[in-house]
Subunit: 139 residues, 6 copies
């Protein structure tokens, strides 16, 4: 179930691009695109260090990594846009909606009920947005 993260001939940037696409999908592309005119070098760092270095390491699977990230961003409470990207990412790597909801409820214990409530609100937005784009085309 653990993908082979690293390929010998890849640069960090190539490996990071591959990891970013696998994990964050379109949401990751949007973050990179938004940096193009103000800090393009930062887009490169963002691909290289978090994705090319950290997420590509073999010692922890992507499911565990996204659980860690969703928990941390919910607890910190200062990263609403990034939390939404990683709720998407969590769903992309196989975490269920119910599991994401469990993580956020658990954060009430460590960061307080407001952190959990704001995390649940972000999850509700992401889930609702996904549903809006995948509704059955019924008449």
């Amino acid at each position: 179930m653990m993908q082979e993260h690293r390929r010998a001939s890849e640069t960090r940037l190539e490996r990071g691009r591959r990891a970013l696409a696998e994990i964050d999908g379109q949401a990751g592309e949007n973050v990179v695109a938004a940096l193009a005119d103000i800090a393009p070098d930062f887009a490169t760092y963002l691909i290289e260090f978090p994705f090319g270095d950290i997420y590509s390491r073999p010692g922890l699977d992507l499911r565990a990594r996204e659980i860690a990230t969703i928990a941390a961003l919910t607890a910190m409470g200062t990263a609403a846009p990034q939390l939404k990207v990683h709720i998407e990412a969590g769903l992309n790597v196989g975490i269920t909606r119910d599991e994401i909801t469990e993580i956020m409820m658990q954060m009430a214990v460590y960061a307080g009920f407001p952190a959990a409530l704001n995390g649940l609100s972000a999850a509700k937005d992401v889930f609702g947005n996904r549903d809006a784009h995948t509704l059955p085309q019924t008449a």
Copy 2:
């Protein structure tokens, strides 16, 4: 691998005591004991809500729950004693030392290098303390 969390006849306090013992072991007992003379009711709430309610829910296994908690406490950076308790707890529920180290390295991405360094320092203390209590009795 998922233990049966809930038993019909248990109170929240009983269920919480059972979960606390399974997850935090002696470190959890110490936290409860330290509250005895200043806020004994808070020890009860601590057992009932986090452990009797949250950790006993079936929707997320204990391994995932401790990954979430270790990540959150490392990222927050304001809960050094509790982080150590949950590094112990993580080891108790089957997370490896290397996985804990991976979680902390990943937190550099979301909460900065100081948060990761302080998390690694806490892990080093816990690991060293465990080793000191399990050294082979060689002459």
Copy 3:
């Protein structure tokens, strides 16, 4: 002046519902309603632990409890929606607008001027919203 918080025959949920209604009024109902489709169990925990357990304890009156909460949420700066709910709650339990403003000004000392300014901005929104719903019906 201290209401009798606890009644022997009540469950935590019943006691929490009573406390939530007394303290947060409609704003509390809205928080609970917003959780209905994503995390209904969390609505139960929110009523039971903060309101059924903590706010119902007799050792501190509701005025003091809301002063503590408004101060904490203003200082943390990560809980804007919850701060507004508790500004409402503070007014509900008898704290005056001027006292709320004093608390926020004081938070400049402990959490910095931005925290105080954002707290005052939240208060201004809540006060303005209240005024908009209670304007005299004059021709």
Copy 4:
């Protein structure tokens, strides 16, 4: 019970010194003394703005002000030495030990259980230290 905070002929520094002595007692003097060789001007600002300006304002009594400060510092979790000073200050202005414990327990709701536990630990230290200095001189 509300002291007359302001006297017409006082400077901010004089008024602040009076308020600091009333509220923080010896602990406040120690903070000022520690600044003498590194940032004496900051000691002046500390007396003038928080104490000469804010705490001397008539719109909120000192009991309410210290409840707000103890709650905020407990929730923030980044100001352990200052929290201890204000637990002392709270006792000085008439808040009871049990009320301080209630405030900290309540902070579990807003900032998480670790914040509350660390606050209770600080309170235990301050209470114990007070007891050690006031034990009956029995043989």
Copy 5:
């Protein structure tokens, strides 16, 4: 290049008004104006302490002071409106757009990539708003 910060006959309020106008320009005026109906005394404190006392001190030039403030607000992540005011202020005192971008990128190291991304997003808004008001009047 260091302006003479203090004039003997000025009050703190006068000195603060002068510093606020020089540093924050119109954005500072807007903050003060927004306080007029809810907490006018706080507007006075805001002018007196941060600007009349701190920013008017001769020991650090305004360029260095704004670098410090932009870095701190970006790292804290809880003061979005104030960060924008100080990006404006930084430009007012001679920090370039590229330097502001460098500061924010650096904050990824200390407060994580989300803090840096949100800081860059704030900078992009401020730069874009400036450009919108200074576009050449071409037909």
Copy 6:
């Protein structure tokens, strides 16, 4: 005064080692050494990304970079060991003790007086430690 940061043939690791030695000196070496047995890869990342990538960028001089870092770590209040390393680093790149003190006093405005007081306390420790190692050898 701006060193030439980058050399064409250097790897990120080599460039980072050079920057780390120039900026943090012995304190930086100690951080790297402490990681050797628990997370040696993280020592590599720490050298490569913050120092090889960020601090080596030509768009902001090291004095400005250390002002930003000292301000951010003081304001965050969760990184006491790293703040001390960067007070050392600030002195290494030419920031004076008085300027460091000014930065910390200014942080009272943005992060509150406790953050400033704890920053000043860290500075006092670093300054005192430096003095203890450079005292004249008088009889």
